[in-house]
Symmetry: C2
């Protein structure tokens, strides 16, 4: 087993707030050791699409990515957002390298099969989607990969792919090579015992705790699939999964960051 | 001196023609050995800017890059165009890695000083702008860097930079490490003896020939600065500069591609 690797996922809400984003990036740059950032999209893509007359198509809360929308998300995620993040990290001394899944063939996905719904150019990640040896080359050369949520199918087609899933797939795959932790940054301080009390963060949750917390109703709704995915990643070799507030990332090294999910 | 490196620059006119572009990329992918592609922007940025109500500002034929326009060119050049090219090259078995100058701090520029005209967020390249050891890491790891015409200043600011200049700066800098040739692809078959005869390509021009051809009036107008820049690059260590038709790139290895500029 090689050295430690931290994979941090940052969501759209931080990306949409310029000063939040800058504060977060300064903290991410200061994180020692090997690391990867995966970023979501934010509202810029939706706004740009509206401005150029592309209607955002949603089915059952899922965005449909037709060809004009794929162009928009490629522009915004892999272009504007990714390069702004890379330039900001370089300023803070982090040798950032912006990537889509097409670059260095780092993440190959398959266009989601059409069943009831045609999601359009949406990529699903498979078990061997991540080119871990390619990503390893960048890490070993001292670069910090910054992934946007765009992948490709290896046949010339770009695909829009969920950023949480990319982060998780990278973590599972790279845990063969590194002692890998996955850090989900969101707008809460962690998994809360009392949803109305931001200071009621549960510091550590095992899979067994998770079952109890679900039956107690402490963990519910959107948090359930998030944690299910996290424990799935742990089951596949990821050491720990953290869930916490982007604004607290500086506490990560001191063990004071959010909720830590552990296998047992 | 290391191995051979070819740096190919492709212009906007090819980028704007989807089938031309695909044909060119197939040929570029087939080019053996170490190589780099630098691509210009094309008309998509201008069209997108118009669609979202950003007026293209030109002063003396030069585009002024204000902040909204910088966002547009970053989206289009470093996002849409760059990632489409990378995905297409991956399809053809070329391990392409899309880069802006901010990525891996590969090309640092300075915001053009305001004299009579404020060009806005336009980057000028200096003698030590290229991080040649960073770019070398990618080449030695087997990747083919694909540069969009976006750089950064190292202080968090992205900058719009001329693609011809980027190609030339890369070639000059990397000629310290590789036997480097620079290949400008454009819409003509090369430097023509008779502008109306596409088959009148001058196969080889020395700097002395260039002076004669200028005084004879064979080379004039826009071609003069192009060739001046090319001979400048040769004076700085670049082995050869080629100027020819993107559609003929497959002839490059056989010595049948366009006009070759040589030092003597």
């Amino acid at each position: 087993m090689g050295s430690v690797l931290n994979i941090v996922k940052i969501g759209g809400n931080v990306i949409d707030d310029e000063s939040e984003l800058q504060r977060f990036l300064e903290k991410f740059a200061a994180l020692p050791g090997k690391k990867i950032l995966v970023h979501g999209g934010g509202k810029i893509a939706t706004r740009l699409a509206a401005e150029i007359g592309i209607e955002a198509k949603m089915v059952e809360g899922r965005r449909i990515t037709d060809e004009p929308m794929l162009d928009v998300v490629t522009m915004v995620y892999a272009g504007l957002t990714n390069k702004k993040i890379v330039a900001a990290l370089q300023k803070h001394g982090c040798d950032a390298l912006g990537l889509s899944g097409a670059d260095a063939n780092s993440i190959k996905a398959v266009k989601r099969p059409v069943k009831d719904i045609d999601y359009g150019f949406v990529g699903d990640i498979l078990v061997d989607s991540v080119n871990k040896l390619g990503v390893k080359k960048f890490l070993e050369a001292g670069f910090t990969p910054i992934f946007s949520a765009i992948t490709h199918n290896g046949l010339g087609q770009l695909l829009n792919t969920n950023a949480d899933t990319i982060a998780s797939a990278l973590a599972v795959s790279l845990s063969d090579l590194y002692e890998t932790s996955l850090v989900y940054c969101f707008e809460k301080n962690g998994v809360l015992r009392d949803v109305n009390d931001d200071n009621s963060v549960i510091q550590s949750i095992t899979e067994k705790d998770f079952d109890s917390l679900k039956s107690e109703g402490v963990i519910y709704e959107g948090m359930v699939p998030k944690l299910q995915n996290a424990f799935h990643a742990i089951g596949k070799g990821v050491k720990n999964v953290y869930i916490g507030n982007a604004a607290n990332l500086h506490l990560f090294q001191q063990g004071g960051f959010g909720t830590c999910l552990v296998s047992k």
